[in-house]
Amino acid sequence: MADETDLNTVEHKDSEESEYRVALTVNGQLYHLTLDPRTSLLDLLREHIRLTGTKKGCDHGQCGACTILVGGRRITSCLTLAVMHDGDDIVTIEGLGSPDALHPLQAAFIERDAFQCGYCTPGQICSAVGMLAEACAGWPSHATADVGSDHVELTPSEIRERMSGNICRCAAYPNIVAAIRDVSEGATQ
């Protein structure tokens, strides 16, 4: 079980040790790190592997600026410990697109002017990627009248509800909703 490819086993030397080895994939690249177990996944990304696109806003899971995708699902990276993600496949804003080949949501945010200061934007876009996948899988939301229905129509009220975990202090919400709507409608055409 304890061979090098078994990423489900955290190697720690003994309980007196304060550092733990973790291997995880970020944007397609495998990283091996030795970490204090207090390190949040957010701090691993920003401070250890220098991917600073993911932002630290509140550090309490309330603002959504640190949203990333783990195994394709959106989470707040501040409220999880990096050691708990050994073997996981992580995508951050840097992994979604590049300046020459923007992700459709990145392009839509620019087209719709869906930001002002831009601090929440990486989290908004990663959250929207996860949210569109959830809607595509037929997940209902608090805005869905009949949670038993398999059909999800991403109306503005559905998008606002599903994106409520991402705060924008510049209040670019109308344009964020419009950008996401552009992509969701494009995807279903």
């Binding site: 086993t9 304060s18 177990p37 949040s40 410990l81 209902p140």
Partner: protein
Amino acid sequence: MRSFSYERVTDPRTACAAVAAHPDSKFISGGTNLIDLMRLEIERPTHLIDISRLPLTAIEELPQGQLRIGASARNSDVAANPLVRKRYPVLTEALLAGASGQLRNKASVGGNLLQRTRCHYFYDTAAGCNKRQPGAGCAALSGANRNHAILGASDACIATHPSDMAVALTALRATISMLSPETTTRDMPIGEFYRLPGTTPHIETNLAAGELITAVTVPPPPPGGQRYRKVRDRTSYEFALVSVAVILAIEGDNTITEARVAFGGVAHVPWRSTEAETALRGRPAIPATYQAAADIAIEGAVGRGDNDFKIQLARNTLRHTLADVAATTDRRSS
């Protein structure tokens, strides 16, 4: 955050052995509440046992028609599960009314049940809080207590339980399964799981030291319509001021044959109102019945100043939700 050691376990018995071997240890699953509390040094475990990869994620129908939900199942997976959506819409509605999409993707069923109150004074380490530090007093009694309890509170603590899911599970009469460090298992109805604050608000459940929640089992769906209604200061991503889970069955002659009522946001526990249920059963499905049930449900409620409005809000929320379920539920012929 204080330093701690860490281990990951992959089977429930090892988890229980690990917690027994380490005093001051804690299980961690989603971590969405615990990590925040550790960062604020309200929780200070010296050892964390990572139970997030335990094989307890299944949501499966049992032979007698119950639904067994593994304690490690993510809140979002439970909310989206086809059986839950079809048979227990009140549970899906409650889950989707709580937290955000990101948090529901992390939070586990067991962790949701065990999350701590969001009382400001519990989080403010400069304030007196009997829950955080027994004997320190309760700053909320004379402080900003808009969000606090109106039922079952004590002079030691007026905090509320923050879970939406637990309110729906209370209306559904769920059972919680636990595994002890001695590897014995036991089941407890959710109505016996949570404790009123009394003089020991730091003891919130009847889970024993080192016990691990392994599953929640929901009985076969009761007849009738189900609804979760949550009233809060924001439309989304906010804790309840008052919430109510209602299940109501009505026969063809407009008689209520079955009623389940549970409140959130009003007490230290998800608050089942057997009095309201009794006031509904056998009565005609008319506004006067709903009003009587709402009045009796909130009888004995005590406001603490800022939260006085919750007394009428709770009555109104129940009355409106009952009328709403009655209006949208098929009548069964008697």
